[in-house]
Symmetry: C2
Subunit: 451 residues, 2 copies
Amino acid sequence: MPEQSEPKVPAADPTPAPEGAGAVEPDARPRGRFSRRRALGAAGVGVAGTAVGLAGGIGVARASVEPPAPAGPKIYPFYGDHQAGITTPAQDRLHFAAFDVTTTDRAELVSLLQDWTTAAARMTQGEGAGEYGPTSGPYDAPPDDTGEAIGLPASGLTLTFGFGPSLFRESGRDRFGLAARQPAALKRLPLFPGDNLDESRSDGDLCVQACADDPQVAVHAIRNLARIAFGRAAIRWSQLGFGRTSSTSTSQATARNLFGFKDGTMNLKAEDPAGVDAHVWVPSGADPRAAWLSGGSYLVTRRINMTIETWDRQALSEQERVVGRTKAEGAPLSGGGEFSQPDFTMAGRGNEPIIATDAHVRLAHPDNNHGVQLLRRGYNFVDGSTGLGRLDAGLFFMAYVTDPRTHYIPLQTKLSRTDGLQEYLQHTGSALFAVPPGAKSGEHIGQALFA
Amino acid sequence: MPEQSEPKVPAADPTPAPEGAGAVEPDARPRGRFSRRRALGAAGVGVAGTAVGLAGGIGVARASVEPPAPAGPKIYPFYGDHQAGITTPAQDRLHFAAFDVTTTDRAELVSLLQDWTTAAARMTQGEGAGEYGPTSGPYDAPPDDTGEAIGLPASGLTLTFGFGPSLFRESGRDRFGLAARQPAALKRLPLFPGDNLDESRSDGDLCVQACADDPQVAVHAIRNLARIAFGRAAIRWSQLGFGRTSSTSTSQATARNLFGFKDGTMNLKAEDPAGVDAHVWVPSGADPRAAWLSGGSYLVTRRINMTIETWDRQALSEQERVVGRTKAEGAPLSGGGEFSQPDFTMAGRGNEPIIATDAHVRLAHPDNNHGVQLLRRGYNFVDGSTGLGRLDAGLFFMAYVTDPRTHYIPLQTKLSRTDGLQEYLQHTGSALFAVPPGAKSGEHIGQALFA
């Protein structure tokens, strides 16, 4: 039946059928050449680095003033002095993955970082993970992109890579000849009072933070990096998040966490370069063992479950007392607006402080922590529900800091002992990573570590 | 220190301090009156029922043609002949929850449905869950809204309620005097070949499907309904999803599932009212025991894990062979474009059919299933990763059908035995619910069942 088996060329496929193509066989059929690159075309290129679409952010202002601008064409450069995804205005969705390196060969680890760099540089620009993309490669080979992001814009995707302490040394063993370069600050975080850590949600040799305004784009990126890692590294744990709870730019309104409160009012913002320099980047000369980390940062991740059902049964007065801010406006209980400085000395009836001694805002404020500031990039999460009929929900805390020994551990030690909020929290995951500086075009992420 | 303890009225709070207010005490402090209702104001009202913002959908067209319109002001009516969230153009995000009823008292069950109806009618219009909202109620009582959606627009939120078989009868026991009204079609779904069901992700007495264009809005709705249910019902399981994989309107481009293929090309669309009448709504007189269900539907939910790591190692040719469509365009392998009818008789080399005998498109096509069509509203999901270093990912399948005995069970029985895709799937959750018709203003959801 030659007529019947003559292929019709798909209407939207620009590739003509091969000359003389007769019966359509799977290995001879003309493939669609639809790549993300082509789908994006001019629309996606040319606005690199701009933060369009985030003005107004997620907060109150957005709904009452104007709807958000479309997130579609936002593209951030991959290469640069610092990795993107740190001071980049926090995107709305997160997929974070920690990996165990499964190879024991240093060259394979390096090749993995090379391959990840190449793929990340492509995907963050809205292209497929590999040269051919999902549908234009050899027909009898697995595609070099999994395809679920075909036609989706870059959506502000950033991919940020980090190295865990166990990459340098595990049970005292120098796995890849890197032990001499392990930064002194890169140690497993201590167990804080009240921690209830799940090993399978903690630590990791490598990490990738994927942030985007479309979850399908973030998931696509992690999934393709995991696919590329096959045989060299495997996912140890991963976490999805939504509703960024920490603005990292003054162009963003403050979002709310699942306690219903604004979160991140006092966060370090990209528009404060002196603050970012002082509190986020690792200065050159900070650690003679780790010159490779200059211009990088440390990333603390904590999976913080909230007992929201208990919280929801507390009076508004108790909720505000514990936080130290109003729920509506996010203003300190001492008065003013969201961005007013709290007055910790103000006293009320019975000479008790208006902002309670165990209020979160008091304990976490830089003035009460030797001026320490964190650049937080937290996300809300809901991972279904527990067997006890409660939502498995909370905050996936992420903070970028210049040194965890000064900028996280003392603060969390204090909070875990005295913060009133702690009654409604349980830390179930914990990790620390060294985040190398950005790569230059032609280099791979972390190249200086292996030089 | 009376001066020092004089409150400053927060700048953005329109409520003046009470006359003569002196020291600021938690129980006397003026509360912010910022409600979602006020924040939305005129911007949110007046476009009820319109489907702005979805033209172009998520597919290829969107990125290459124009960015999506802002989803902000979209509001769907809650009351009507049918519940919203069925033929409503599928929103981008899902939070689905199944509940166990914990009370044994029929009156309490009815009061729960009344309370849920009231709260759902409010939240879908962009208001708080209760009269006072998150911050304007009595200061020494828990707020009647949890607050994390303050300032967020309605985001197209729909809330759709259903009743599981176990609400009517459990272990033969008539729990609430409803057994005589149990529809004959409302039985636990059978175990299909290859099912690997997790009891803790299956079944349930009640269900709520929350769909919205913002996950924080969908999560807020389920969380507040769970809070309201306290003491009467508790969450049994819940599922988040993103990237709707089934368009329910011709205004939406076809989205892609995590196999990277377009999903739902042949889905029933709202613009086909005759098809919807024939295949979705329960006709009056369908079941003499269940007149209360006329104008309602049945909802099948299946949590379908995909073994994406295995899939990703298959050749493009194998992927397309198993699906029966091209990956790029979604066209049938027999030719044409995405919406061309497949030619199941077309033969290729060796007279083998071009569309394989076990191809998904062949087995699922209405022509090969007595004309049966489903209205699917599936969502992709990624629930972190398994202990084996793989993503816990797949498709949360939802389908609304006029009768599961004709419209789902025979089809799934066949697919589970012969579908080539089955090799890459594992069904890990399963449930069936009767979805009553819409409520009229003043009624509660499912009122006719209890009349």
